[in-house]
């Protein structure tokens, strides 16, 4: 150890540069990996829907001959009758798309009662099955409960189904099933069912706070969500687009999209961030490793004679390899110690200025481990080359 240290101290600058490099690398890698994992966890959240098998489309009526109610009923008969379709539902807006509608709900009647913002989805009694939502309490809507509502008319559904998240937000003490909630503190609706999870849109207080209403608005624009049998989705999508498009010339079919694609679009920026950071991490590790490697090669070349002398004086190959490995380990270790402080500091800065959460502690030791391995691997080849220097070198130029 001591001779290695004194050798290092004789060439301070080179060592200091490696240490700085390792320290900054650790700070970046730890924070970048942390952000990547956060984003991947976000992207991977289940939405509660049968993501793989459902697709959605909009029907938009544009002529004065267009009659929304009969068209929707005809469309639903067509869709539900198609072989390969499990179920289909009309819906006001496609969940996880960039559109959303939300309103404030309260647990008590009254003007000044604190409320919860929830994403609103109008479906019929096929809604739960078509979306693939899991009912955990209560019941589904019945056919009789579903109203076809004129968009001009004021409408409050007598019954609603809420997500578990929304139920907890409204009634923190539980027992939401059967209770009454109020729209803006005024008009009441009774909760008849609770679904485990249904992610709608980000505009409301929380993406998982959604509420289902048993109604179909007979507006010019309506969306459908269709659930296909496994493996049938991609075959059905163009077929449905063509069938509905030809069945009625007073409207146009738009924005046909697989749910998996809609969800990917929802998380596009998060995925982009994760991919860019992964590229940065990979490049950074490569640059640092090559830097350590390059320096080690140089050091070996410069010390050829010294190595030869050590070998001639009886040092084994293992000793030479050990020497270079220890030297590299020493530099890496000093680097990661400084780097740990830098990593925490960088995270503190990110927490202060951006919506980045505090670093989970285990990222730092994981990063340290990574850099130790990196340092050892980078220096292995030059060390082996050093060990192969024959003792005879010592005799040559003296």
């Amino acid at each position: 150890m001591r001779p290695i240290l004194s050798a290092l101290l004789r060439n301070k600058t080179g060592a200091v540069l490696v240490v700085i490099q390792i320290a900054i690398t650790l700070a970046i890698v730890v924070n970048a990996l942390f952000i990547v994992n956060q984003r991947l966890a976000l992207i991977g959240r289940p939405t509660g829907m049968d993501e793989a098998n459902i697709f959605s489309l909009y029907s938009f009526g544009f002529t004065s001959n267009f009659r929304a109610g009969p068209t929707i009923q005809q469309d639903l008969r067509t869709l539900r009758g198609l072989p390969g379709v499990i179920d289909a539902t009309p819906i006001n807006l496609v969940p996880m798309s960039s559109s959303g509608s939300d309103l404030t709900l309260t647990a008590q009647r009254g003007e000044n009662v604190p409320g919860v913002d929830a994403g609103i989805y109008d479906v019929d009694e096929h809604g739960l099955n078509a979306l693939g939502l899991k009912l955990i309490a209560g019941r589904n809507f019945t056919h009789q409960e579903v109203d076809y509502v004129d968009p001009e008319k004021d409408y409050t559904p007598p019954v609603v189904i809420v997500t578990q998240g929304l139920a907890k937000a409204l009634f923190p003490n539980g027992g939401a099933l059967g209770k009454t909630l109020y729209w803006g503190g005024k008009k009441p609706s009774r909760i008849v069912g609770i679904v485990k999870r249904f992610y709608g849109n980000d505009y409301s207080g929380h993406i998982g706070w959604s509420i289902l209403l048993p109604d179909v608005t007979t507006a010019k624009q309506i969306a459908y969500v269709v659930r296909a049998q496994p493996g049938q989705r991609d075959r059905l999508m163009p077929k449905v687009e063509k069938m509905l498009g030809q069945s009625n010339r007073d409207r146009t079919i738009m924005q046909m999209s697989a749910m998996s694609k809609t969800i990917a679009g929802h998380y596009r920026e998060d995925r982009a961030m994760a991919v860019i950071l992964i590229v940065v991490i990979a490049l950074l590790i490569a640059v640092t490793a090559l830097g350590i490697f390059g320096l080690a090669v140089f050091n070996v070349n410069r010390r050829r004679k010294q190595i030869g002398i050590r070998r001639a004086l009886g040092a084994r190959r293992v000793d030479i390899i050990g020497y270079f490995m220890t030297e590299s380990w020493l530099m890496t270790t000093i680097g990661v110690v400084i780097g740990s402080a830098l990593a925490v500091g960088l995270n503190y800065w990110l927490v202060m200025h951006y919506a980045v959460p505090r670093l989970a502690w285990y990222y730092v030791p994981a990063g340290i481990g990574l850099l130790w391995v990196l340092g050892a691997v980078a220096v292995l080849m030059p060390a082996l080359r050093a060990a192969s220097i024959p003792p005879a070198v010592a005799t040559r130029t003296v």
């Binding site: 700070a27 952000i35 140089f298 951006y354």
Partner: protein, 435 residues
């Protein structure tokens, strides 16, 4: 002398091709990463209308729930109600103001062979066009009487004119929107303000709209808003109660050229809100705002925090690459110390040795900059593939290319000064002895 040093530098680089490649590669990767992020950041934070961004003001009124701010801690809504927007247009003292919103419909070409297609509609006053300096290819904005009497007139984007009329001068022709005939009065030139500052809802880097129609048609045609609408108070669901509601969905801008005008408009807004308070509206404390374009972009966080983080990390990455290069240069120069020793002994001054090494460093920096530029191009391709609507933000212009090479050169010289200085300080005698 420079060319002699240049030749020495090239010779030295060629003697150690792997190491030279490593150094050039390190600086290229650093430049590539940092310039990619810098380009996106620079274009995101660019001024979309530099000639008048200081004089265009976004207007905010706080008509929100007396019990709960629009957004914490006490932000006013970004958008405005229909009734307030129309009132401000009528009563406001500004020479140029504009209220507008986004809608959506299907365009039916008069040519029966062409199929109908969805279009994004901007429902606006005629002031939109002079206010935001929109360039016209054919025709122009509709007239004041069209606004006043709610005529069915339309201005088309260049793309829509291409699609409907094959790009010819379509002024005077008609197109069916909201299943009524609209007369074309103007066609815009290709126009893409980046970011789309006048309406940042949805995404800030979206394309401008396809067609523009008078806002006075909203009530007669029952034009449904197609953008983002926020409501806090329940209201009747027929169209007229929507227009009278406290729901916000319009964007409101004024052009104010002097501080006096700004002050006058501000006090007009305050008076307007006080007047409305008497009617029982606007129960929150006075919270009116005028923000010019750049202040508005900042307020709306158009530069996503992700991009700021990436920019910061990318420049730290560049720092790692520089330290890396510095270490390699130091090793390389010291390994060659004996050579410099001989040159010194033969009469070269320290300054000359320093200069010689600096030229070598500059060559590395320049090559690294060029390679870095190629990597930046690749990086921008990756970024535009990952994000939607970023096409306008991922183009390398000559300024940015110049900046890239400049940063590479400066960075290389900064990294090279210390190693070059070290090598010119080494003692001559010691190196001569070991030869």
């Amino acid at each position: 002398m420079f060319f002699y040093n240049l030749r020495l530098a090239l010779l030295s680089l060629r003697r150690n091709p792997a190491l030279s490649a490593l150094m050039i590669g390190a600086i290229a990767v650093g430049i590539g990463a940092s310039m990619t992020m810098f380009t996106v950041y620079y274009l995101m934070s660019a001024d979309p209308i530099p000639q008048k961004s200081a004089h265009l003001y976004r207007v905010q009124l706080d008509n929100w729930d007396p019990d709960k701010p629009y957004a914490p801690p006490d932000k006013a809504p970004e958008q405005m109600t229909y009734r307030d927007a129309v009132s401000l247009m009528k009563q406001g003292p500004a020479p140029l103001s504009n209220a507008m919103f986004r809608s959506f419909t299907v365009a039916q070409p008069s040519d029966k062979n062409k199929s109908p297609f969805p279009v994004r509609v901007r429902v606006t006053y005629r002031n939109f066009f002079p206010m935001f300096d929109t360039p016209f290819e054919y025709g122009g904005a509709w007239g004041k009487s069209d606004d006043a009497e709610a005529h069915q007139v339309v201005v088309l984007s260049n793309e829509t004119n291409e699609r409907l009329f094959g790009g010819e001068n379509s002024v005077g022709k008609s197109v069916k929107l909201y299943h009524r005939y609209f007369k074309v009065v103007g066609v815009l030139k290709p126009w893409r303000p980046t970011p789309r500052y006048y309406d940042l809802t949805a995404t800030a880097f979206a394309k401008p709209d396809d067609v523009y129609v008078p806002l006075s048609l909203t009530a007669p045609l029952q034009i449904q808003p197609g953008g983002i609408m926020s409501c806090w108070k329940s209201n009747g669901s027929d169209f007229q109660s929507l227009l009278n509601s406290e729901c916000v969905w319009l964007q409101f801008w004024v052009q104010l050229d002097t501080p006096t005008q700004v002050a006058a408009y501000k006090s007009f807004l305050d008076d307007y809100v006080r007047e409305q308070k008497k009617l029982g509206r606007f129960q929150r404390p006075l919270n009116n705002h005028l923000r010019n374009v750049m202040q508005w972009l900042d307020y709306e966080h158009v530069v996503a925090s992700d991009n700021s983080i990436l920019l910061g990390l990318a420049f730290m990455f560049l720092a790692v690459c520089l330290v890396n290069m510095m270490g390699l240069l130091l090793a390389k120069f010291l390994g060659r110390a004996a050579q410099s020793g001989v040159r010194r002994a033969l009469g070269a001054s320290r300054a000359m040795i320093f200069y010689q090494h600096l030229v070598e460093v500059a060559v590395i920096g320049f090559c690294g900059g060029l390679a870095g530029l190629a990597l930046t191009w690749l990086g921008l391709r990756l970024v535009s593939g990952l994000y939607r609507n970023y096409e306008g933000l991922t183009q390398l212009d000559p300024t940015l290319a110049g900046i890239a090479i400049g940063i590479a050169l400066v960075a290389a010289l900064v990294a090279g000064i210390y190693p070059a200085w070290r090598i010119c300080r080494t003692s001559v005698a010691m190196h001569l002895k070991t030869q």
